[in-house]
């Protein structure tokens, strides 16, 4: 396989409607677009392959964390230098990718933050604020938005932040590991479109994330 430097990894679950648009836009800014179909029941894999993305397919739905980890492991194995992670539900605008790559040249990991505007559902705004304060208190990582999945990191950073969570806790685990490993990070603002209010992090996920953050602080040595 050809050596490529920048890979975009898009975990997707039942996203046949949005995936083609995301791939087309993302392809303009990276060397390889890798879609990890997390056991979709629809034609996500077929549509993604047809649009020109490299596709890995989970036989079962494992969760966003596991799908992204599969993609990252595969990318690193195939000599990726930089990885950009974004969601498949058209929530993230791929036009922002060049800013991530630019920032990544000077740090290990780039986080993004959505404006806490009235567009963000109230429960998400409150939960996000609470989790952000927890991350700052427990790990010394001060972020405006701990749950934004639009992120970029280097190959070296990935080896240090490689998470165990298979669900949405992955985003917080990444922060926890980055804090513990004292990685250099920056955060940049992004434009966000909320397309499906039934997808993404729920209140229950939020409660689980908070408990996990305490657990990792107390019992995870790495």
């Amino acid at each position: 396989m050809k050596i490529n430097n920048v890979w975009a990894i898009i975990p997707a679950y039942n996203e046949e409607k949005n995936i083609a648009g995301i791939i087309k836009k993302t392809k303009k800014y990276v060397d390889i677009v890798l879609v990890v179909d997390d056991g979709s029941a629809d034609r996500t894999t077929g549509v993604a392959e047809k649009t020109g993305a490299l596709v890995l397919t989970h036989a079962l739905n494992l969760g966003k964390g596991a799908a992204l980890k599969t993609g990252c492991d595969f990318a690193i194995k195939n000599n990726a230098k930089f990885i950009v992670a974004l969601d498949a539900d058209a929530q993230h605008n791929p036009d922002g990718i060049p800013r991530f790559i630019e920032k990544l040249k000077k740090c290990d990991i780039v986080f993004s933050y959505r404006s806490l505007s009235s567009k963000m559902p109230l429960v998400l705004r409150f939960g996000n604020l609470f989790i952000s304060n927890m991350a700052a208190f427990l790990y010394g990582v001060k972020l405006h938005d701990t749950q934004s999945g639009f992120r970029a990191f280097s190959k070296e950073a990935y080896k240090k932040i490689r998470w165990n969570s298979s669900d949405y806790s992955m985003e917080s685990e990444m922060i926890a590991r980055a804090g513990k490993q004292r990685l250099k990070y920056v955060q940049i603002p992004i434009e966000t479109i909320y397309s499906d209010k039934y997808k993404g992090t729920t209140v229950l996920d939020g409660a689980k994330i908070v408990l996990n953050m305490l657990w990792w602080r107390l019992f995870n040595s790495r």
Partner: protein, 111 residues
């Protein structure tokens, strides 16, 4: 005199023997597993019908009634079972995740 609760215990024990037997016949339990379960449920029925068998144990543990001993034992078994099932579920989750992820990557390598 046999009390209602004892009849319930007897019926429950008989049902569990029947259910274990069905699972054994479906070859989901080995003969030794079925044998051990049979002994367990027979003991359960005996204790339900003749609780005074446990009187010496009840007295030595300073428990007021045989029924209390059964309730306490039931809770202990329940907690141990939940812990055991949790451990097995976590292990299987991790195995499944590893398998699915490896399979997804290997499939692409072959392309």
């Amino acid at each position: 005199m046999v009390l209602g609760i004892q009849i319930a215990g007897l019926l429950f024990g008989l049902f569990m023997i029947y259910y274990s037997f069905i699972i054994y016949k479906r070859k989901e339990f080995a003969a030794i597993e079925f044998g051990l379960l049979l002994v367990f449920w027979l003991l359960f029925i005996i204790v339900s019908l003749f609780p005074y068998f446990l009187e010496p144990l009840v007295k030595s543990l300073n428990i007021a009634r045989t029924f209390d001993l059964l309730v306490i034992s039931g809770f202990i078994i329940l907690i141990a079972s939940v812990f055991y099932i949790y451990k097995i579920t976590r292990r299987n989750e991790k195995r499944l995740e590893k398998l699915v992820r490896e399979f997804a990557m290997k499939k692409n390598e072959r392309k």
